[in-house]
């Protein structure tokens, strides 16, 4: 059977990438297996856990719920695109400082979600942070240190 394969082009972390994919190829699998960017993780593949969160055209999306062909022509940012050369993104540094990760599986998704939150609201209080993270599940940390890390970078001065 001849598969219907489409040539698509996406800009990923600033670099133009060309791939040939079936329409059913999920963006998550395209990033991980076709482009070697395994920072984006697959926790549930049902759009519930948030581990697969990336940014497409400036907005966070669950990459397991987007077909790669839908991202043809789009600008994609993954966790690999956060650090600047050898320097960690402020959020990454804050997660490190505050112990916002243990196994690290949810962390890329957490970082991408936190990045969007801070862009939209540079002065979030704890409730706003927790609300924004509601779609990113963590089995290890109990979330407190994740919240602390995000508050350190983009929290309101009197939030606690």
């Amino acid at each position: 059977m001849d598969a219907d394969v489409r040539a698509i082009q996406l800009t990923v972390n600033g670099r133009k990438r060309h791939v040939a994919v079936e329409p059913r190829r999920l963006l998550s699998d395209c990033l991980r297996d076709d482009l070697g960017l395994t920072g984006t993780n697959l926790g549930c593949e049902q759009g519930v856990c948030g581990s697969c969160t990336v940014s497409v055209d400036g907005q966070t999306v669950r990459s397991c719920l987007l077909f790669a062909v839908q991202a043809d022509g789009a600008e994609v940012v993954t966790v690999e695109g956060l650090a600047d050369g050898g320097e960690m993104h402020p959020l990454q540094a804050a997660f490190w400082e505050h112990g916002g990760l243990q196994c690290g599986f949810c962390t890329p998704g957490m970082l991408m979600t936190a990045r969007e939150l801070i862009e939209r609201n540079p002065q979030s209080d704890e409730q706003e942070i927790r609300d924004a993270l509601s779609g990113n599940l963590c089995r290890c940390t109990g979330y407190q240190h994740i919240v602390d890390a995000i508050q350190a970078v983009g929290g309101s001065s009197d939030g606690h």
Binding site: L26, T60, V61, R62, L117, D131, G135
Partner: protein
């Protein structure tokens, strides 16, 4: 699991989209937040997906009086648009309660309404406000009333090949307050029950009119009869009475792993009372 193969098209004109939808087994791909998980679980096997995300004609949002939302307006946009919040706070509230940020970034008005999951928020607002739905197919266009639209769980009046193009949420009288209130088992989880409420006051500060709809409790959203509120003081007593009415609005509440029928019956009263309370606080330009 991964989705099964399908034919894929992403038209840029609505006319092209409805021609493609006329084919057997063709389904609409909007936000994908409900459909793609089903395909990944292999519970849905559409032969073809018509991706409507490039139909710019369906991305318009008008807020002069009514709120007219094109089918691919995202929940996030409805939630954060100041004009929507100003005109129909209930709609902004309901959109803001859709899932999580990444879900709202992709989830669409059309998808939320057409998928008709009993737990979805926007159908409840559509029923409360008597929304109008514009639908197109290769055969033409028609307008449906929200009250005729939701037939059963996951089942609407859409015929095969029809594309929901826009939803018109009628505006409320000047000074009306409106709100959406939802209860879920965990923060921002699936709604167990949700209520959309709107009310407006007369010159003496008594309730002149009210609209309430209840979702998540039955298979489809239902209006709750709150005529008894008219002429009363907008306060705790009136709203508690409306909550009591709401508990009998659905004869057999849905029961599932998330909540028993009894629990949903109880929640029906809670969400209606709290939605009315919030609407009351916003009415007359207060709060």
């Amino acid at each position: 699991m991964k989705p099964p193969p399908f034919a894929y098209a992403a038209p840029t004109e609505v006319g092209e989209a409805v021609e493609l939808l006329a084919a057997d087994g063709a389904r609409v791909l909007a936000g994908g937040q409900s459909l793609v998980p089903l395909m990944s679980a292999r519970r849905e096997h559409p032969a073809a997906l018509v991706d409507i995300n490039r139909l710019s004609a369906l991305a318009t949002l008008e807020t002069n009086g009514d709120v007219l939302a094109g089918a691919i307006v995202r929940a996030d946009r409805l939630a954060r648009d100041p004009a929507v919040r100003g005109r129909l706070a209930v709609l902004a509230d309901a959109a803001a309660r859709v899932g999580h940020p990444a879900v709202r970034n992709r989830g669409t008005v059309g998808g939320n309404v057409a998928f008709a999951d009993p737990a979805n928020n926007l159908p409840v607002v559509a029923i409360a406000l008597d929304a109008e739905l514009t639908v197109r197919s290769a055969g033409g266009e028609r307008t449906l009333a929200a009250s005729d639209f939701f037939r059963a769980a996951y089942t609407t009046a859409l015929e095969p090949g029809e594309l929901l193009c826009a939803v018109r949420f009628p505006g409320l009288p000047d000074g009306a307050g409106s709100a959406y209130y939802e209860v879920s088992a965990r923060s921002r989880g699936w709604g167990l029950a949700g209520a959309a409420a709107a009310l407006w006051l007369d010159a003496d500060g008594l309730i002149a009119g009210a609209r309430v709809a209840l979702g998540g409790v039955g298979d489809v959203p239902v209006r709750v009869d709150v005529d008894a509120l008219i002429g009363t003081e907008p306060g705790a007593e009136a709203f508690a009475a409306a909550g009591a009415t709401a508990r009998t609005a659905v004869a057999e509440p849905r029961a599932d792993l998330q909540a028993s029928a009894e629990h949903r019956r109880h929640l029906a009263g809670v969400v209606v009372e709290r939605a009315l309370r919030a609407a009351g606080q916003r009415a007359g330009g207060r709060a």
